[in-house]
């Protein structure tokens, strides 16, 4: 389950599942309802900060739950159901009418990394934790929207290859160089503090959420198509 609380203008979404914050159907549903609630409560100046506690930001889908199914085909169905239910969560983040920040407090792997990179800004602790796409190592192809979001957010061909096709485990300092992470910080606490400061700065801009979301979508047209997001007609406050 996750929790949502408001600190000033910044909405803090805390991911809390098992120790690894694996994205089980329950956690995914809980994320989607939090984002749905945020969409309706957004005001100019709202900002989302997503973080987690412990050693993991999120370790991806709950493969243990999938594998505990009665048969391999039932396990595959469970995996597919998680792939399908995370898609609207990613779409909600890309369409959220406010700036979004992920404060990566620990490992972010597979779907957990996708979740982090679906935010506008990713801050990460440098003393612990890696960004990692294990699919190539475990022999699992990428769902279409995973690849689409990663391609949209990681613009360096070499960085994309090393992460997706090389199974590289990327620490914060390197992730900054690769252009995946905004800034590296020396502990989980300082990462969240820096994310709060960034959130407050962004909140002061009092951007119109609906326009912000449309501009964001226009930056990632390929990802939006795969996620089923369409552009709205022009909205403007002028």
């Amino acid at each position: 389950m996750c929790s949502l609380e408001k600190r000033g203008n910044v909405w803090v979404l805390s991911i809390a599942g098992d120790g690894q914050n694996r994205l089980s159907p329950t956690l995914i549903d809980s994320l989607l309802s939090a984002l749905t609630r945020l969409t309706t409560q957004a005001t100019p100046g709202s900002v989302l900060l997503t973080t987690a506690h412990g050693k993991f930001f999120s370790n991806g889908f709950d493969l243990a739950w999938a594998q505990s199914a009665a048969s391999p085909s039932a396990a595959l169905l469970r995996l597919e159901s998680m792939v399908a239910s995370l898609k609207p969560v990613v779409a909600a983040l890309i369409a959220l009418p406010m700036p979004t920040i992920a404060a990566v407090n620990g490992h972010a792997s597979a779907a957990g990394l996708l979740l982090a990179l679906s935010h506008d800004y990713v801050l990460m602790r440098s003393d612990y934790g890696v960004l990692y796409m294990p699919e190539v190592n475990i022999g699992l192809p990428m769902p279409d929207y995973f690849a689409a979001v990663m391609r949209s957010k990681i613009r360096s061909a070499a960085a994309l290859r090393d992460l997706m096709l090389g199974g590289a485990k990327v620490r914060a300092a390197e992730a900054v160089k690769m252009g995946m992470v905004e800034s590296a910080h020396d502990s989980a606490e300082s990462t969240v503090e820096a994310a709060m400061r960034l959130g407050e700065r962004l909140a002061q801009r009092k951007w119109l959420g609906e326009v912000y979301a449309e501009i964001r979508k226009s930056l990632y047209p390929d990802a939006c198509i795969v996620l089923g997001l369409t552009q709205k007609p022009i909205v403007s406050k002028i």
């Binding site: 995996l79 475990i138 022999g139 990428m142 061909a157 994309l160 290859r161 997706m164 096709l165």
Partner: protein, 238 residues
């Protein structure tokens, strides 16, 4: 022509110089490359990797324009060019769907279609003491086949303006800085040795070839669409 040999777990595809030290891509060389890649497809195991290298001062100097121009008239010269372009498309499609990591060791110049051939590999290593990557089309006043532009977009990102639209001749060190080449080495031998080491490292990962090829394809959807490659259904070893 080309030869294919296996050294340990690494397959080495070598463009040989008996007919043409520039390894220009004519129908005979293109068929020979396609045959080698088809053979590789059937021989791939979970710990395979491919290195492509060449003898002499050229990796590959592009299509064999001499052969095209030796045709009786201009229409047949164009048909010959079209035929080579179609054959290279099939070679690139085979490389993009090859179920193993691929490494190009550039021991000399790579120009035009030769650059495209090199960039279709997952990793490109290059000697720094001589040799350039060069797209001469803008200088020669000829347009690009659609898949040339697609591979440039997929693999060169921002550098494509300088290389494709600027006709810049890029040495190894600069190519590394531009993110086109993985690493620069001080001789042809040094480049091939480094490529062998990289190939062995990649082979040791024992990636599932089918999943590897599918992930690769999801990274370059536009390039794949141009080549006529479509994604397969999910395969998984979990």
């Amino acid at each position: 022509m080309c030869t294919l040999e296996k050294r340990g777990s690494v397959f080495v595809l070598t463009l040989t110089s008996e007919n043409d030290e520039q390894h220009r891509l004519n129908p005979a060389l293109l068929s020979s490359l396609l045959a080698a890649l088809s053979q590789l497809n059937s021989q791939a195991t979970a710990s395979s990797a491919l290195i492509t290298a060449a003898h002499g001062r050229f990796f590959c100097n592009g299509f064999d324009f001499r052969w095209a121009q030796a045709a009786a008239d201009q229409p047949s010269a164009r048909r010959r060019l079209r035929r080579m372009s179609d054959s290279l498309r099939a070679v690139l499609a085979a490389l993009l769907s090859l179920p193993m990591p691929t490494v190009a060791a550039l021991s000399g110049h790579a120009a035009a279609a030769g650059t495209v051939l090199a960039l279709a590999h997952d990793y490109v290593l290059m000697r720094s003491d001589r040799g350039v990557i060069y797209m001469p089309e803008v200088d020669l006043g000829i347009t690009l086949p659609d898949y040339f532009a697609a591979v440039a977009t997929a693999k060169m990102a921002a550098a494509r303006r300088d290389v494709v639209l600027g006709g810049r001749k890029v040495r190894a060190v600069e190519a590394v800085a531009m993110g086109i080449v993985q690493s620069a080495h001080d001789s042809a031998e040094g480049t091939v040795e480094a490529a062998m080491r990289l190939g062995e490292e990649l082979a040791q990962r024992e990636w599932v070839g089918d999943a590897y090829a599918e992930i690769r394809k999801t990274l370059y959807p536009q390039f794949c669409a141009t080549l006529g490659l479509t994604p397969k259904a999910i395969v998984s070893k979990i």
